[in-house]
Amino acid sequence: MSGTNSAISPTSTPEKREITTKPRFSDKVFRGVATVGGLSSLVILGLILIFLGYQGFQVLRSEGFGFITGSNWQVMQDNAGNTDLAASSFGIAAMLVGTLLCAALAVSIAVPISVLCALYLTFYAPQFLKKIMVAIIDLMAAFPSILFGMWGFFVLMPHVEYWAKLIHKYFGWIPLFKMEVPVFTRSPFVAGVVLAIMIIPIITSVSREIFSQTPLDRVQAAYALGATRWSMIRAVVIPYGKSGVVGGAMLGLGRAMGETVAVYTVLNLVYQINWHVLIGAGGNVASMILLKFGEAGPTETRALMAAGLVLFLLTLLVNSIANTIVSRTGGKGR
């Protein structure tokens, strides 16, 4: 066998062939168009990131880590009336904490309500009601956020104040609900409730979509085994839809973290880290930018850009953590 053609040797395997195809012209054109469309969002996002980084660089370099750990926002001017960057201090820690606090509160209020709403619409609601409700919920998702803010300010706030007092009375021993000063209005709690109402439609919509795609054969298999509707939902629909619900919650979280006007309307901006959700002090990066933007000089504007960059990166970070969680836990059951 030695020295002969290796192709017929029983111990050797042939080289792997390269498998190619020659696409047609129309396919090439379409691929080009699709690629442009697909990459454009990435390019736009990249440009925004570069813009914010470029604008905020000076402030970030001067403040260092203090920008995200400090809570002082002071603009100092020198004798000529120009902003003195070295003497000023910019720190957004309180706003970052406020952003996370309000958004987390909003998601934890909105997710249970949305999931129940989606389950009701998919499995219990009569046809006519379902159509009406789906239309209303979709409309809510497109509702201007300033209206939510105004409604929150005029209608919700007095009520939430009452709830907040109740929570404080019975759950005040939990550090999160502790109060040192009895100021209940314009608290992160109110902002969280308003944000929750804003993101319920998004999470409901995504959850409903995924629940309604539950494979019929699994649903039937469960019913054929004598399942009640609730036990069928628990055994089939929830495992199937879990990752979709988390995805919807992430969309909602993204919106809650970036929300500006509604939070601005119902929240007291205070430059001090506050974990106590019931106290009327807090903030949110986006609404701080809105508050300061109108009267900011060139340097302060740069600082606001830097704040925007941090918010951008924070949102990105939270989303990628969530995606990791989804892909770790959501794989089974599909």
Partner: protein, 282 residues
């Protein structure tokens, strides 16, 4: 084909009744009886006046061309028919003399007694093999003394135990198609149904798996009532004691003929049955 010897006392009663009973002439009292079943999808009548009795301890095959309403018919027998929007039915289905469509009936209890195996194997992919078999207990909120014994017994009866006993904690989706279908049979058995409906259980499977499932059916038939819809006439001849032939001439499906399988395949009374079983159409 010989009718197999039946030893169960319950089926002796059934056997005795069988001889003098004409379908639709009165309550049998045991087993499953369909009386004048009509079925609609929306305004379209798809089944007309089907009356059929299924005796305990026997296998009944339902044959007929596609679209003649066989599947619709067996789905009326465990109330799966009503899941389809716009579906309606008329007639009675008596399980041990009780109408399963009677007002105030708990439908989940009916489906525990009348189990179903579907055309496409449909194990729950989020559950392990063991959890799949025992899923019915959880779904129907039943209690059992010894889960391990039940698990082994059901997998044994479904002819799957030897193949999976070492990997009960693997996911159901990791099995082959034929194994998945036997897993689904085991899952149906775990809630101890009296009747098992099988809607073309082998149509998505290879011949080897088909053979295993036919053996399983033979094995199970002594202790329960089995109704199997099949397009495979050899299969009907191999596994069933009775055969019903359904046909639709474009309108609603009707039951043309029913009788012992050997008669249907050797001396059918109706010319349409003869044409179908000899392969002249369908």
């Amino acid at each position: 084909m010989e009718t197999k010897p039946i030893t169960s006392s319950l089926s002796d009663v059934a056997n005795a009744t069988k001889a003098r009973k004409q379908p639709g002439s009165g309550a049998l009292g045991v087993g499953l009886e369909a009386r004048g079943i009509h079925a609609w999808f929306g305004d379209k009548l798809v089944l007309r006046d089907i009356s059929l009795d299924f005796w305990y301890g026997t296998v009944t095959a339902l044959i007929g061309p596609s679209g003649c309403g066989k599947s619709t018919f067996i789905r009326t027998l465990n109330r799966m028919h009503e899941f389809i929007p716009g579906a309606a039915m008329a007639g009675e289905v008596l399980l041990n003399g009780q109408d399963i469509y009677e007002q105030g009936t708990d439908v989940t209890k009916i489906r525990l007694k009348v189990g179903m195996v579907f055309q496409k194997p449909n194990p729950f992919p989020s559950m392990t093999i063991a959890d799949n078999v025992l899923a019915g207990l959880k779904l129907a909120q039943l209690k059992t003394e010894n889960k391990d014994d039940l698990l082994e017994e059901c997998l044994e009866r479904a002819g799957l135990w030897n193949e999976v006993k070492d990997r009960l904690s693997a996911y159901g989706g990791s099995l082959s198609g034929g194994q998945q279908q036997r897993l689904c049979i085991a899952r149906s058995l775990a809630v101890r149904p009296e009747v098992l409906l099988m809607d073309e259980p082998c149509s998505a499977l290879d011949p080897g798996s088909t053979l295993r499932i036919e053996e399983t059916i033979q094995h199970l038939s002594s202790s329960m009532t089995i109704i199997i819809v099949t397009h495979n006439m050899q299969q009907a001849a191999r596994v069933s004691d009775y055969t019903g032939f359904f046909l639709s001439d474009g309108g609603p499906g009707e039951l043309v003929e029913v009788g012992p399988t050997s008669e249907i395949f050797s001396w059918p009374k109706d010319i349409r049955t003869e044409n179908y079983v000899t392969g002249r159409f369908g």
